[in-house]
Chain length 224, copies 2
Amino acid sequence: MPRRRASHSMESVITEAVAILDEAGSAALTFRALAGRLGGGVASIYWYVDNKEELLDRATDHVIGDVLGDIARREATEDPIEDLRTSAVMLFDAVTARPWLASYLLRNTDLQPNALRLYEHLGQQVMRLDLPPRETFHALSAVIGYVIGTAADLGQQPPAEVLEGQTTREEYLGRYAERWRESDPQDYPFLHYVVEEFDGHQDADQFSAGLDLVLAGLRLQADR
Amino acid sequence: MPRRRASHSMESVITEAVAILDEAGSAALTFRALAGRLGGGVASIYWYVDNKEELLDRATDHVIGDVLGDIARREATEDPIEDLRTSAVMLFDAVTARPWLASYLLRNTDLQPNALRLYEHLGQQVMRLDLPPRETFHALSAVIGYVIGTAADLGQQPPAEVLEGQTTREEYLGRYAERWRESDPQDYPFLHYVVEEFDGHQDADQFSAGLDLVLAGLRLQADR
DNA sequence: CTATCGTATCGAACGTCGTTCGGTAGTCGA
DNA sequence: TCGACTACCGAACGACGTTCGATACGATAG
């Protein structure tokens, strides 16, 4: 009795693609790996997606849909900036949990409707500040630029050793800090001034402090 | 008479790699293309770099060296934040002029000493605000996160049509704006509120306005 | 001038990737 | 029972990063 042909669906294709990205990072997502996971042939995937770019766009938008759901579910407070802050932190957390997200999220394409909805949602919170269109547009651009940019930066994959559990993040950071300490204090006064902060810092704290800076600037503008 | 063997150097390898990246984008930088340009064989390049990652790191650091030179050459004013602003704008301009820079700059590695020097240079300007180490560290992280993140976002390669000169950036932006206008104003009030600002906007203005927000927040903190 | 040796170069091959093509199994209405 | 349409897939293609062993070159020593 011959083996039955496999049967896929857009849903399963995207779900499994996301699973691979989450488990093994963006380099591991190949059509062959995905086909293997789906128990089918490589070419079958091309019935659902035109190319890898579209696969990544759909995978990205799929998880952004979830993030948007979480964000939108939260009730609004009376302070728009506080709401914006909450949303920004949630977005940041989602991106650092999935380092592969950042790079593809930067590509605003037609194939990412949920990204557009998220943009709209954040924009509505900025609108409540009653700034003119120009300032409103710029304010949201600044916040999103900061969030995505910082997440992309901080969310980079640490070297393989950390991933494989041979080294902790703290040791990795500590070795970097050590190199800072060994540099010439004459040439690198700043590195020495902040090295103790750098060593053992938490990415989330760093992000949060910077976000406060952006939002403080925004509040200043809104109150003017 | 047999053709002579080609003769390379680290300098020429990196210079030509940067030339390819500038002329045709990061997808065009292959070992074969680079070898062809150098008039030699593919394997020769491996005598200078261990792998493609190192090639990209060296290329990135090479141009960051130039950027750092330009930035450091400017004289300091009496206002640290104004100096920081000037440096940030110069860095932003450099990255948007070379969209491929952003992605590789995010990867803080040992092989990018100039990136570390740039970090130090910007840090020294923040130090002049006399904030404690923790706040100083966070402030620089925020500024850099914003600059690189926004540059990476805005500096994305537009679709092929624009690159090939078949469409102008304005038309491309306009078509996007058109889609915003066609969306339901009930569901997308924000898009409609800012669409006129979006249509025909200049990336540099958008960046500059957002940077002002961040720096206003920083100034607020410094004056406290 | 010749022999030697480390340096630098290169042709050819390997395995993997995204993508394409032609064909075929499965399903369903007529 | 029969086509026709949908969904699937094996096999191949060209391009990529990378490796290996061979070899040309330039400097040095005899």
